[in-house]
C-alpha cells in the first residue's frame, strides 16, 4: 500500500513538473537511458547539471558586473547554460536563457540583469523540486526495467 502511494506521488509530481513547464520531453529521454548498468543515470546527470550551472551562474553574474561590458562573453556563457539546461529538459531555464541572449544581442545590460535574476529563481526552484522528486524515487527503490515507466 505504501509503495503504491509513493508511486502515485512520483507520477503526480512528475506530471506537475511537466504541466507547469519546468521540464520537457528531454527529461523522459534521459530517464529512458537508464538501465541495470546505469540505474541512477538520470539523477547523476541532473546532479552534474546543478553543479555546472551553479558555477556558470556565478560566472555570468561576475560578467554582468564588469565594465566595459563584454556582451559577446556574456552571450557565450549563457549559451553554455542554455545548452546544459536543454540537456536535462529544463524548459523554463532554457527559455529564460533565450531572453537573456536576446538582451545581449540588443546590448541591453539592464535587461540582462533582469533575466539573470529570473534564471537564478528558476534554477533554485527546479533544484528544490527535483531534489524532492529524487528523494521520493529513492524511497521507492530501483526501477523494474522490464516495465515501462513513461509518464
Amino acid at each position: 500500500m505504501e509503495y503504491s502511494n509513493l508511486r502515485r506521488q512520483i507520477v503526480f509530481m512528475k506530471k506537475n513538473l511537466f504541466d507547469q513547464g519546468y521540464l520537457d520531453e528531454q527529461f523522459n529521454q534521459l530517464e529512458d537511458l537508464e538501465d541495470e548498468s546505469s540505474p541512477n543515470f538520470l539523477e547523476e546527470v541532473v546532479a552534474l547539471f546543478f553543479k555546472d550551472s551553479s558555477r556558470l551562474l556565478t560566472n555570468i553574474e561576475q560578467a554582468t558586473d564588469k565594465y566595459p561590458q563584454d556582451f559577446y562573453k556574456l552571450d557565450s556563457l549563457v549559451q553554455q547554460l542554455k545548452g546544459s539546461g536543454s540537456s536535462i529538459g529544463a524548459l523554463r531555464m532554457k527559455n529564460e536563457c533565450s531572453v537573456f541572449k536576446a538582451n545581449c544581442n540588443d546590448r541591453n545590460l539592464e535587461g540582462c540583469r533582469r533575466s539573470l535574476q529570473k534564471i537564478k529563481r528558476e534554477h533554485a526552484t527546479l533544484k528544490q523540486k527535483l531534489e524532492s522528486y529524487f528523494q521520493l524515487l529513492r524511497q521507492v527503490g530501483p526501477r523494474d526495467y522490464a516495465v515501462s515507466s513513461r509518464k
Binding site: 546505469s38 543515470f41 547523476e44 555546472d52 549559451q79 546544459s84
Partner: protein, 141 residues
C-alpha cells in the same frame, strides 16, 4: 566464425554533461544493435575540444589504428571550435562522416558547418532516435 566489426565513433564535446549523455545514448544504441542480432561493436572515443579531436583523428589514421566511422562534432569549444576542427580534419583528407551537433540550429550555423566540410547537422540534445537516424543515413547500422 563471423567477425564482429568494430564501429568507432568520436564524440567531440567540451561539456561533461553532454559527453555523459551522448556516451549513454551511444552505449544504449550499441546494446540495442547487439540485442537485435547485430554483429557490430560500437566503441566510443571522446575529445574535449577541436584540437584534441584533430589529434585523435590523425592518430587513428595511422596504419596501426582503425579510422573513425563517425565523428559527432560540437560547435562551441575552447582551444579549437567545431568549425575549425572540421576544416582541419577535411584538410587531412579524412572522409569520415562528420555530423555537427549543436544547440544552435540557425541556418547560418548549419551553413558554416557544411562549408567547413560537415556532412550533416543535428540539434542538441542528441536522442537515441536521432542517433539511429544518423547511423542509418551513413549506413553504419
Amino acid at each position: 566464425m563471423a567477425h564482429r566489426k568494430m564501429m568507432r565513433v568520436l564524440l567531440v564535446e567540451d561539456e561533461e554533461i553532454n559527453r555523459l549523455e551522448l556516451a549513454q545514448v551511444v552505449a544504449r544504441a550499441a546494446l540495442k544493435a547487439a540485442a537485435g542480432g547485430g554483429d557490430d561493436d560500437l566503441v566510443l572515443d571522446e575529445a574535449e575540444n577541436g584540437a584534441a579531436a584533430v589529434q585523435r583523428v590523425r592518430d587513428a589514421a595511422t596504419a596501426a589504428a582503425a579510422p573513425y566511422d563517425l565523428i559527432l562534432m560540437d560547435k562551441q569549444m575552447p582551444v579549437m571550435d567545431g568549425h575549425e576542427a572540421t576544416r582541419r580534419i577535411r584538410g587531412m583528407g579524412v572522409t569520415t562522416p562528420i555530423v555537427a551537433v549543436s544547440s544552435d540550429g540557425l541556418p547560418a550555423d548549419v551553413e558554416a558547418f557544411v562549408a567547413a566540410g560537415a556532412d550533416d547537422f543535428t540539434s542538441k540534445p542528441l536522442s537515441k532516435e536521432k542517433l539511429g537516424d544518423i547511423l542509418a543515413k551513413f549506413r553504419l547500422a
